[in-house]
């Protein structure tokens, strides 16, 4: 089964759906989730290789989602993409194991480039 290897998580539906549509135009299939809880469920089910994660979301905060992914799915790489500019928050994310910490708004080519880098890293980690 050819399930998308990338999961986009953000509470901003307009943003995440548009981003997914643009990726599809570039023949990249991505999955989307609108909050932390939904994201964890999807990861548990499909073991995505890359998760693009927002930090500030109602319900479970992004850092908590990151912590759980690192704990339960060590092969899954996380890219933080947030509108929240606090340096401390970014450092905390990197410390918890995020591969990149990117700030919204972002150029899609740059995001795809980072995703591919991380994806190849994830592939190489596979046993």
């Amino acid at each position: 089964m050819n399930y998308p290897k990338v999961l986009l998580v953000d509470d901003e539906k307009d943003f995440v759906c548009t981003l997914a549509e643009r990726m599809e135009l570039r023949d990249i299939k991505v999955d989307v989730a609108f909050n932390g809880k939904e994201a964890l469920e999807k990861i548990k089910e499909h073991e995505h290789q890359v998760v693009v994660l927002d930090l500030l979301m109602p319900g479970m905060p992004g850092l908590e989602v990151l912590r759980r992914i690192e704990k339960d799915h060590p092969n899954t790489e996380v890219i933080i993409l947030t509108g929240h500019g606090e340096q401390e928050c970014k450092e905390e994310a990197i410390r918890l194991g995020a591969s990149y910490c990117l700030l919204k708004p972002i150029n899609i080519e740059e995001l795809i480039d980072k995703m591919m880098t991380v994806l190849s890293l994830s592939e190489s980690k596979k046993p």
Binding site: E12, D14, F15, T18, L19, E21, R22, L25, R26, L56, M57, P58, G59, P61, T82, G83, H84, G85, E86, C89, L103, K104, P105, I106, I108
Partner: protein, 543 residues
């Protein structure tokens, strides 16, 4: 202040006045007493001398010698040559009959037995009469001395008359000024010498008889011929005489009056100088106070403004996120439109698709501008602008800032805003800061997943009440005691400790009141009461 400064001066002037008055009077009165004493002594010495002379004649000569008129004539001549003033000399026997007489009158054989002075000599042995005028209209007095024979069984009297011209000499020797007077009176107030103001010899003196005093004494406020005078006097010891010295009061106290007017002038000048200095000083002080009040007011406003900005600054990360999200949406939508034009240029429903995406872009732009407008509305300067308002709107404004933050932390924001809330007259900018501070504190106090309840209700006499309650960590009684003090903070290293102090200051200035109840581990309740209209804002509006 003027009264306080003048009182010591007044006390000093009064004290000096009395001190000088008593000292000066003493200085003026003492010489008068000395003069009276000296003159009295001269008079007494004169009389004593004449009395001794008569006494000597009575003792030195026998009755027989004195009864012999030729002999008496010889004695009288020697007497007149040695002692001035003697007018006549005579011998009177114990029956009162004039035995012999030398003098200008025809008195031989005259009987004095019934005369009061004769009786007095019999009792006292000595007699000095008051002054009287004899046949030649010269004032004179009589000295009579009783003398006993050697065996003591017989006695006789030697009597002499003395011209009182010497009295006038003694008075002239006192060297009195033109306005001054000195004279003798007897105990009945009859003049014994002539006086400048009171009349001639044997006239009744206009002055009342002073109280008996053998030592020189001074009496003030004696009115003599319409003038207020000072009188110095002394009673004679062996005669019926009183020596009186009269000086016009104005002349006696001239020095004192001069001094008094000088004291008054010095006092008046002192008061004027003090008044000028006091008015100048108070004026300067009041101006300084006014200036420092204005400066304080200015600093307070600056402080409030910067505190408000820093409150907004603390929200900046959240605000950035708020703006970045719609920006990211716009970015993606624009990117998608470009992608569609590039990857699917022949799509049949292109127009509808593009319009749909453009409307999302417009919505995102609206979100951005709403946020920036809200920020600008908050960050405007703290100038006092009094207006009618619905406090519910202010609360909504404040909450819109923290709603996202609360949502991310799963903090429930409960709003119980009264629909019929009284409109009040107050300052919107300052009230925003008040509620932003309180709600921010509540948000800091609650754990993730906690709750904050904001309620508005109508109070008494058109006032309103706003309560902000949370179920956060709460505060101890010790913290509560200092909560509104400047620079008091429990957020070590984070807060300035000015937030609640500024909040308290603003509420008080707007005529309201703020109370806080709290218990550790249970939460905190802030209650803010605001009046329908603030008190006296005229001054602040003017500044």
């Amino acid at each position: 202040m003027l009264i306080i400064t003048i009182i010591p001066l007044l006390l000093m002037a009064t004290f000096n006045y009395h001190q000088y008055q008593s000292r000066l009077k003493e200085e003026i009165v003492a010489p008068m007493k000395v003069l009276v004493n000296k003159t009295k002594h001269s008079f007494e010495l004169f009389l004593a001398g004449r009395l001794s002379t008569v006494n000597f004649i009575a003792s030195a000569y026998t009755y027989k010698e004195l009864a012999d008129e030729a002999n008496l004539q010889r004695i009288f001549q020697v007497l007149r040559a040695e002692f001035e003033g003697f007018v006549d000399l005579g011998l009177i026997d114990s029956s009162g009959r004039q035995i012999s007489y030398v003098g200008p009158y025809e008195l031989q054989g005259k009987n004095y037995a019934e005369q009061p002075w004769f009786q007095q000599v019999k009792v006292r042995g000595v007699y000095i009469s008051d002054v009287f005028k004899g046949f030649r209209k010269f004032p004179h007095l009589v000295i009579a001395v009783q003398h006993f024979s050697r065996s003591g069984d017989r006695w006789w009297i030697v009597r002499a008359t003395i011209d009182t011209g010497k009295f006038d000499e003694l008075i002239a020797a006192m060297g009195l000024g033109a306005g001054e007077d000195a004279f003798l009176i007897n105990h009945e107030g009859i003049l014994q010498t002539s006086s400048k103001f009171c009349g001639s010899v044997l006239d009744r003196c206009g002055l009342s008889i002073p109280p008996r005093s053998y030592e020189p004494n001074v009496m003030e406020d004696f009115y003599l011929t319409g003038r207020n005078t000072v009188v110095a006097y002394a009673y004679f010891t062996r005669t019926n005489l009183i020596l009186m010295v009269v000086k016009p009061r104005a002349e006696v106290l001239k020095a004192w009056y001069t001094l008094k007017s000088e004291i008054a002038i010095v006092f008046a000048i002192g008061v004027i100088i003090i008044a000028a200095v006091v008015f100048r000083l108070t004026g300067t002080l009041v101006n300084r106070l006014k200036e420092s009040d204005q400066k304080r007011e200015l600093v307070l406003r600056e402080m409030q403004h910067s505190h408000k900005l820093s409150s907004i600054g603390r929200l900046a990360a959240g605000v950035a996120h708020e703006i970045n999200n719609p920006l990211a949406v716009i970015n993606e939508k624009v990117g998608l439109v470009r992608d569609l034009l590039e990857y699917r240029p022949d799509r049949p429903d292109m127009k509808e698709v593009l319009l749909r995406h453009l409307s999302v872009i417009v919505r995102a732009i609206d979100r951005c501008s709403a946020i920036t407008h809200r920020l600008l509305g908050f960050a405007r300067r703290m100038d006092v602008t009094i207006e009618q308002m619905d406090v519910n709107e202010v609360i909504e404004d404040v909450l819109s800032f923290i709603e996202k933050d609360a949502a991310y932390r799963n903090v429930t924001l409960e709003k119980h805003l009264a629909k019929d809330l009284n409109r009040i007259t107050s300052d919107r900018g300052q009230l925003q800061q008040v509620f932003l501070n309180i709600v921010n504190n509540a948000l800091a106090a609650v754990e993730d997943g906690g709750w904050i309840a904001i309620a508005t209700t109508n109070g008494r006499s058109d006032s309103i009440e706003v309560t902000v309650q949370d179920n956060g960590c709460g505060m101890s009684q010790e913290t509560l005691r200092h909560i509104f003090e400047p620079f008091f903070t429990t957020k070590k290293g984070e807060g300035t400790g000015l937030g609640l102090s500024i909040t308290h200051g603003i509420v008080k200035r707007l005529g309201g009141d703020i109370q806080v109840k709290s218990a550790v581990g249970e939460g905190t309740l802030f209650t803010v009461q605001l009046p329908k209209t603030p008190p006296e804002m005229g001054e602040e509006n003017a500044s």
